[in-house]
Symmetry: C3
Amino acid sequence: MSSAATSGTEQAIAPLTAAAIAELVGGRLEGSGDTEVRRVAALDRAEAGDLSFLASRQYALQYARTRAGVVLLSTELAGLKAQPGPAARVVVDEPHAALLRLLPHLYREAARPVGIHETARIGRGARIGEALAIGAYAVIGEDVVIGDRTWIGEHCVIGSGAVLGSDVRLHAGSTVYGPARLGDRVIIQTGARIGSDGFGYTFEGGEHRRIPHVGRCIVEDDVEVGANSTIDRGSVDDTVIGAGTKIDNLVQIGHNVRIGRLCLLMSQVGVAGSTRIGDGVVLAGQAGLAGHISIGDGARIAAQSGVFGDVPAGETWSGYPARPHREALRASAATFKLAGMMRRLERLLTERE
Amino acid sequence: MSSAATSGTEQAIAPLTAAAIAELVGGRLEGSGDTEVRRVAALDRAEAGDLSFLASRQYALQYARTRAGVVLLSTELAGLKAQPGPAARVVVDEPHAALLRLLPHLYREAARPVGIHETARIGRGARIGEALAIGAYAVIGEDVVIGDRTWIGEHCVIGSGAVLGSDVRLHAGSTVYGPARLGDRVIIQTGARIGSDGFGYTFEGGEHRRIPHVGRCIVEDDVEVGANSTIDRGSVDDTVIGAGTKIDNLVQIGHNVRIGRLCLLMSQVGVAGSTRIGDGVVLAGQAGLAGHISIGDGARIAAQSGVFGDVPAGETWSGYPARPHREALRASAATFKLAGMMRRLERLLTERE
Amino acid sequence: MSSAATSGTEQAIAPLTAAAIAELVGGRLEGSGDTEVRRVAALDRAEAGDLSFLASRQYALQYARTRAGVVLLSTELAGLKAQPGPAARVVVDEPHAALLRLLPHLYREAARPVGIHETARIGRGARIGEALAIGAYAVIGEDVVIGDRTWIGEHCVIGSGAVLGSDVRLHAGSTVYGPARLGDRVIIQTGARIGSDGFGYTFEGGEHRRIPHVGRCIVEDDVEVGANSTIDRGSVDDTVIGAGTKIDNLVQIGHNVRIGRLCLLMSQVGVAGSTRIGDGVVLAGQAGLAGHISIGDGARIAAQSGVFGDVPAGETWSGYPARPHREALRASAATFKLAGMMRRLERLLTERE
């Protein structure tokens, strides 16, 4: 087996003509239908063999100068001028959605050679499935269980006793410790750490003594965890990430946290220990949640918010400390107005008293 | 030596009866004293063979429905009803503290095989102690010094010239660079980086030129560093983490920072270069400290605070920019009140002038 | 080839006398010109063989007690007393700048043995340059291109198809995925991740479906990326880091972000997808930028700011939500004043109405 090291990288496969594109997306072709493209590129970086798209008037200037061969654009922007303009244009209702539909025709996922690399180390008692791909220098501990068609990237370390489902992908250099249970189709990006010991101490005898961590770290089906993110195992409870939840890069999930299904946690979010998060919750970038609080189903937390109390289902909160978004906006606006009237206000108070 | 890859994972050892539990924690037994448990689990996830605990009325509903075999609960909650309820209950003053005392009777730390894995690489001139455990694919540079009974996890890299004490644990995939000096009983979690070059440049000749980093990175006895955290070496001074200080995941410590003894730095905290932190300081999650400031002994900084100036010993500060917590709370409360009276205030000012 | 594992660590080479120091920096020598020093250390940690410096009156007490052999100090501080004081002092206009000029005379960069470690794995079709140093257990994918004199640290993983320039340094345990293009003299610190898949989903059929990522990750000449930082590849556009830009530890750069030349991004900064950043921009620690916004050339964003809209060239913004720094300061000051006058204000409003 070769030492191929890849990400889940997409590779270009075959060219498409403008006419084929128009047919695939149900769009209106303008210009030369036999213009061929092989790749996708932004308007200002595209070359003659590239497909690009214009979804917003904000990029009209880039469109005017683009060298792309074919451009997808919306009906309302179809009248925009370009000099000399792309060889072909395809007018559709939603250029971005159309582009996503075309991607599988232009790219396919890089295949990963099936097999266990000769340098991979597999511990005693490990039960591994069929059609696995295990990369160079991966280390798999004792009694690990792995389902079928799972990919273990180069340099991954899987602790003794961990259980991984089928069609799981661990990207290079990630760590999955023994207390972890990963469902099917879970994706762990490079450098993520699953199931490490949490941060818990009692102060006794003049020192911080580590609380033993005996809980698990359960990552349900279809969860994705971003590069260099960290998810601690439970202390006496389990840490649980619900099915279909997606976690971005550099996110921290503390011990005993339970996150529901289909949530989105954006980059650099932090969730402190024992907090409960419902289903379909969105936490925007750098938001922080205190420990031992509850976030209701479908709630949305704005970027950089600091949440110190429970958030009811369906509500949008923002700010520091976080409040319902409308209140936070009003308070913020009032603060900026206040600065302008502060002198008048001081004079008035002084006169009156 | 096997390729066992483990975290400092706790493993279940032997069952305990409810009667034994009551005796160990000095509690009052109610129900069947010979009920056996083998593991700890939260009320809502516990099964018949599990020990659980109820410390707050907040979880009364989970208690009412729990399937746990034995539950520790406080005197004031001892009267709560459960259907059918656990087979045995043990009433104690502090259920959580009692649980922690029981953990060593239910779990023991996973043993790590002593020895140097055949794939580990050890550089010339390295002096290593007795009873070491060095995992698969670990790379140890030249002239490294390591004390007795230290564990080096799989894939760790220790740079030439680094010095590690006794009973140190480096978890898988962590990096300790040459300028680092680690004391005894230091724990470095998976993916943490100790002693990397700091962020320092001078702008000359139209470019940012790197300032050479020649300082050390000194991590004293009993320090713990969380997963994927980063601690830079000093530039011309040393970076120092004082004895007994505990650092959570994804924390950043800049060059020349000096942190005292027994501090707690929670997840995603950032400390900019050359800042001094006293003893017993607590920095809550996502707090940020500017460079070149001083935080006095015993100070506490609230989550997400942005600290731009010195904080006196013993004080609690919060907010952005951080102020004494009481002031910050008053300012925050006033801001939210202000929004409600803004229209009246504007009218008043207009009338008067 | 040995298994030497080093950072770009500086090593002490030869002693300097106080007289030589005075000559090298054009300073005035006071005391014993033949005092020798071999290392640099802060005033309070320096020993007799060390060079130290005093640039600010803030450290006068440390100066008074220092055991350093030679101290650089500024003209205005030259009169300060020390007991017994350093054996020699060198008075200069800018002690810190003088110190930086002296470093190359005291330290030299650790040499890295040229050659490919016997455990390194190199994929089919890889084209690698001359005088490379490739460390233990590095894994290089198929068709990778690497220029001359590049260093690949221990445990690095380079994905198939990646292109690296000359004089590049990848520190231990970093990942460069296939979509990445690294220019010359790029430095990637330990644990950084370049070119991983971004965070993009569409919600269809009751689940978050991953958007294929087909863009590149272009890191231009002289860029540096800090420990454990993450830079995602583009989705349909490219992610681009402009020449000479320096990125600190634990920074997140989302997909399709374009950063200009000579920017500084400090620790824990997060930049959400598709945002454009001009040349010479400074983003201070923990600042967060929303997606799809523009930051003009030379703009400066204060620490922890949350930027949700465009920032014009040359301006300094701060706060949450970020505003021009002067406005943000006024609003913040007004807020703290407000708390003190809230009761009087409430009474006044009640009386009037």
